[in-house]
Symmetry: D2
Subunit: 464 residues, 4 copies
């Protein structure tokens, strides 16, 4: 304590820690395109509204364009003493075009400026995420296409339950990702309103044209209340939430790929680019990418928790706490984008072992339900049929056999309704029987696959 106070090095470190506290430049510099786009649109509007002169606007716009080029080229003289991207660009603009740079800040405040920048980012990020979702969906369809007739055990409780088409299994993830795309689209919509013109909080005392700025920037509209505009971060929450749910879905798929890659399951062999060996066991295929996909779901959900906790109990309007809105958002977007690309590659490169899957399905009691349904079809009440098959299952298991290994005599001892047709019940007949919308019968899966392709194509058309 006292020693530390007298220790100049410790004291200096403390001062450094404190002075770094408010700096955001290391992460908000990536908003430079958005910041410059917003400023250009603002300057042009000011000139159109005759709030500043056309000459001023031209000078400002030209200056900003040259700064954007500097940054893109890596030539920008970043100054750490200026805390954020906005102050860096502003200061540079004064250097580049002189005092007229000051006119850019007419009828604008840092509060509406930063909100606009982040909204532009969020909207663009959401659209990029949708693209990545579509790629991952496409990879699933690619595999589904090849595996409509591949039979795999469907699991409940990690126990073999009923045989299903592998394509059907994969299409379950197509559905999850489709909902994700919907959430990303909602998040893009939440970000799609311009806050420029809200000023520090109360609006601006100049005859600005908010709608035209919004249109220039590609926003769908303007915010309705200036105090809400500068303190609202719902659009950011919506996007982090959407990434969280998406990562949960990917964590489930990753878990399955990891388990299916085990020696014990042996259902899938992931592509070389998505596993690592050990130096001594090159044939070992550690599913590192799937594990990281699963593990990184934590950080994205953590970012959501962080953002929510930061917003809790904040009075209106702008409070500096809100500066914390960006890092977690960036990290969630980056992580989810990466994970989607990883997943699409993992799925696309996976080799499923159809033989091993079928053997797993056949080496089980998954046909019990179908045998009961057979008795129901012969007129036996459902419940009575269940009791009989339950007994048969126990009888088979007790002697180390599966149901189809029982003899007809054994079947008929349980019920005279059985005849040789009971042996026609196979994993194939079981799958075929689930001939209902959303069911696993091959024809249904083919229909679902076609429908999925059509949905994906429509989504892509819409996007392009």
């Amino acid at each position: 304590m006292t020693s530390n106070q007298n220790d100049p090095a410790a004291s200096a470190r403390g001062s450094q820690l404190a002075s770094d506290f408010t700096v955001s430049l290391h992460y908000d510099r990536r908003l430079y395109r958005q910041d410059i786009a917003g400023s250009i649109a603002h300057a042009r509007m000011l000139a159109r509204q005759e709030i500043i002169s056309a000459e001023s606007a031209t000078s400002i716009v030209t200056g900003l364009q040259s700064i954007e080029a500097e940054i893109a080229a890596g030539d920008f003289p970043w100054r750490d003493d200026l805390e954020d991207i906005h102050m860096n660009i502003e200061a540079r603009l004064f250097e580049v075009i002189g005092e007229v740079a000051g006119e850019l800040h007419t009828a604008r405040s840092r509060n509406d400026q930063v909100s606009t920048d982040t909204r532009l980012y969020a909207k663009s990020a959401a659209l990029e995420l949708i693209d990545a979702v579509r790629l991952a969906q496409d990879a699933l369809l690619h595999q589904a296409d090849m595996h409509v007739e591949t039979v795999v055990p469907g699991y409940t409780h990690m126990q073999r339950g009923q045989p299903v088409s592998l394509a059907h299994h994969l299409l379950a993830y197509f559905e999850m990702l489709d909902r994700d795309a919907g959430r990303f689209a909602s998040a893009a919509g939440a970000a799609d309103v311009s806050t420029l013109g809200s000023g520090a909080m109360a609006g601006v005392p100049y005859p600005v044209d908010r709608e035209s700025v919004a249109a220039d920037l590609g926003f769908g509209g303007v915010t309705a209340n200036s105090m809400d505009a500068v303190s609202d971060r719902d659009f950011s929450l919506d996007l982090i939430y959407a990434t969280s749910v998406c990562m949960l879905h990917l964590s489930r798929l990753a878990e399955e790929l990891i388990i299916w890659s085990s020696d014990e399951f042996g259902f899938v062999r992931m592509g070389d680019g998505y596993t690592s060996g050990s130096s001594i066991m090159p044939q070992k295929r550690n599913p590192d990418f799937a594990e990281l996909t699963r593990g990184k779901s934590g950080r994205v959900v953590g970012n959501l928790m962080a953002a929510m906790m930061t917003l809790k109990g904040l009075p209106l309007t702008y409070n500096r706490d809100l500066q914390e809105d960006k890092e977690g958002l960036f990290d969630s977007v980056d992580t989810t984008l990466s994970a989607l690309h990883v997943v699409q590659g993992m799925v696309r490169s996976a080799e499923f072992d159809a033989g091993r899957m079928r053997r797993a399905a056949e080496s089980s009691y998954v046909l019990a339900t179908d045998i009961a349904d057979y008795l129901v079809g012969k007129g036996m009440p459902f419940r009575q049929a269940h009791v009989i098959v339950s007994n048969l299952s126990e009888q088979a298991a007790g002697s180390g056999r599966y149901l189809h290994e029982l003899s007809l005599d054994e079947y008929r001892a349980a019920s005279e309704l059985f005849d040789g047709a009971v042996f026609d019940i196979t994993v194939d007949s079981s799958v075929a029987a689930r001939d209902v919308e959303g069911g696993t019968a091959f024809n249904r899966v083919r229909e679902a696959l076609q429908a999925a392709k059509a949905r994906l194509a429509a989504a892509s058309d819409h996007a392009s």
Copy 2:
């Protein structure tokens, strides 16, 4: 350890704890209406499709209706040894109508049944939440109507920033709640698909008519993939998320009401029903309801984190972990509904002290920006104007005065552009100057208020 193992009471308690582990009846019994509605629709469809006889269906439907009446009347013989609501109703149906009850379970599994029940609940809860949001918005409009011309300091960083209309401040919350209603509507949409017909996971081997069951239950459609259908809980996440954001908004409003209720601010007096006194200080007005609104945001966000963590890394399809989906959902809905009703009552009953608010706005430097804009209007460059007013502010503060207490000589010493019109700059003129869409000028606030009323009315019409 060893002592405990030999302690029959401790051992019995351990056994009890273990056996209670899987029980959900204490919370899922509230799904009884949904469960019975789902069963009735299923039974009728089975008869229409001639999977069971019309007589069986009639018997089942009648039995279920009598059970629903029993539960509603508090006469139902609940059995704790049957773990959940579904088994209680099923067992009771056998008692009431005999063995034909068994036919109800044809072409249905617990997995699609419970999913349907929860979706029916979620959809209905989301709509109830929208109603509560609308009531809270109405309370805000009620107050806004009375306070368009009430001037209050707008705050940034809890520091007085610019004068605003109190109605404008209140309308910021109207906007937040409007977004909440949108999220609740999205969540209702996510729940609005029927999973019946998905069976345990693979679909059912009967010619069911999924669409007609869905229509009977008021669902907008059916799920596209049976494996996804029984393991998907996105609709639940969406609703818990929507309640979380809503509670964050309410926590912000609550924080403001608490601070504004302090002796130091004294801006608002909350209704008697929303404060508690102390027995000894009856004039003390503890804002307990606002504090609980703020504090309960934690539990709702906690429920979201819980649900996400439970879903992380689950393989397909149904796993018993998914049973954990309901308690947090129920709690989030209940808490948010209550909080919305509390907030609408708090807002409606609040008495704002317009005089004190105005004095707070006037006793500050909030006009500095306007004085700078005055100089800009006289032709001075923006940045130069700022420097001059900055100096004037320091000069005033140094002598314990506000800007409007400086003399004209003092103003003119700073810039000859000043004349007597500088004293026309008041909190009222400042507010009036923010005459921009979304700004705080009274006419703009009146427009925003009318627009808000119209939006609310349209929403209500749509709902009714």
Copy 3:
């Protein structure tokens, strides 16, 4: 909206929701023993200090004891109009002993009272959790005792890595639980200070003897600052945190039991009391208890997040938000206690399939490291040895063999250092070679097992 306002039923429901908002009786009634114990100790001290008369104290104590008996017997007249347990007991005390009941509240406030109650609960709950941890550890030791020489593949990345003793694997969980016991003990320590005498926040204006009250209640000491005392909830966070980490550990064990119960692994058969079958597949063994253990980790972590968010940004001293401290704490304690009892039962009743585990270990490349170490032992540099064995592994895998299925000629073609002793490398020799503290050699595992037993016995002695 308007329709709702005119709808008496909806309005009544809204009122009910609002009035329920502050009620805590449904969950805090379980604190009755703590509340009464605290009051008795307080009353006795007041008499000792001659703040109230001995007669008053006797009357109060007798009254409180009779109330405790009423509650324990289920005869207490609970009143929902009195919000919480404290008001219920206080009101009842007036009924039972008359106006002298009022003297109990001398030199005490609700704020220090409720804090003391919750601390008494937390301390007791932490100790109960330690007992449950010890039982679960004992179950692990019970199994470890039987399986020192059972060889199972140790996994990294869910891939077979090196053979280990099953007991060694189980003892890893013993260590986790041991740390949990330490955290519970820390949490008990955090709760182990009396806040009585802190009053509403500033201390009390009476000559109370805080230390003697603390001693009577079994507390280790008193709090040092009255304002901190009434607003501190760290002890509650510490306990919820400790339950969270414990549940994470249990979720890992549960995950392994679930995967090991799959048909594909087949390493373990859990006791009948911890699985459920399906009505049609009685031999199916769904690990429901393990799944719920895993799934319920979410709710406990959610409770931690909830508590943290509620505390964020609260000014001193007591705020009603703090009422939210109890439900999540109770739920976390209850859930973790149950899960520990479930886990101890699951572990104790599990039957491990030693043969299948050994075959899995042998059917793999897990000996590659040992073969490299063999070459190192012959003088070859480590890195060179790795390259050679890596090539041998690929050669074996390419021809569908394991390393021990290569011929001596093949070995010697890779390196002349190989001789027939290479075939002495087996899973058993591999395990035996890890003869280091904390390693899996049987003798080391036996030592670790003995040490664990001794630690557990010492902990139990300490506890009793």
Copy 4:
């Protein structure tokens, strides 16, 4: 979709995202000192145990020391194609000393290596956090020393409750920080065991001396189970948890400083280094540092959520998910260290307005309790006294007065027990009356302050 697939730029970006997925170098390079220290200790032990030659060890140690110097000097040739710090140092060691570098990896695996590195970091970080806590406590004592006799309203529910010493209020935070130091010490203890010798998971097949390596590295001991050792991240959770609770405490202090800095309260003026003005309102003092302290509590709690979610349900032993353990830990430590330094500076530089605080205390009804206690002192039953004072309070409030502004006649009309001595009840007498351990009477505060100084000094002695 399809467009993207054909878009080389998008495809390249996707590949880049995927390949970056596993890289940790950008954050784990900060572990270089720990990594090198661990390797040096390992190499020396290998030589002592004659597992490698003394010459090899010397070469390795010298090489590692030169690498450490390179990194410290900024001269190290970082390679992004090597994913992490360990591979960078390993590859460089081969360049620097040649093939003998390979001997370093005898009897060690990446799994125990990375665990040891992170434990060394965590231990050191925890101790650094304790230092920072002590500095912040010292700043509180510095202010408390000056403000023992400064009277401020104590608040409950943000309402003035009872007058207290400002020092007493500040010491409440001293207590919170003291508990934080305890948690950091526990976290340091959790990290204080060496995992080296655990190998990949099963132990190592060499006669290593684990204890001596541990001692060389300053660890207090070695882990007891190798499988637990490589998959345990409790020590990391413990530290992130400790930072979370600390940040919650700081968020509460920050909230108070923000509210106290408002114009309405005006209790404190924070130092220039901890506020920002606006360009136009230089006298505006935005408490940005306090706001960020409050806001950043979210990210630290988010990191805790992330870490917990990542660990949930992971089977033994090492899984790549565990790589996610570090970034959140680093961020939590960095953020909390910075916040502690900020807080100590804010507190130290704060100027409290004693006059304004006293006036706030006097302009209230905070003496009501004392007046009731006065009547109790005259023999009136507690409850009756409360009723009388309650009526007096209402009477005073109704006529816009405080209690001490009532006349003696008014007092006596309420009870004849009142005499002129009632006017001796002041905020000072009220404070003085709380003369109980932990209470706010000045003498008690002075004692508490001395005790706090002694505790802090003892802690510092212990640390140095």
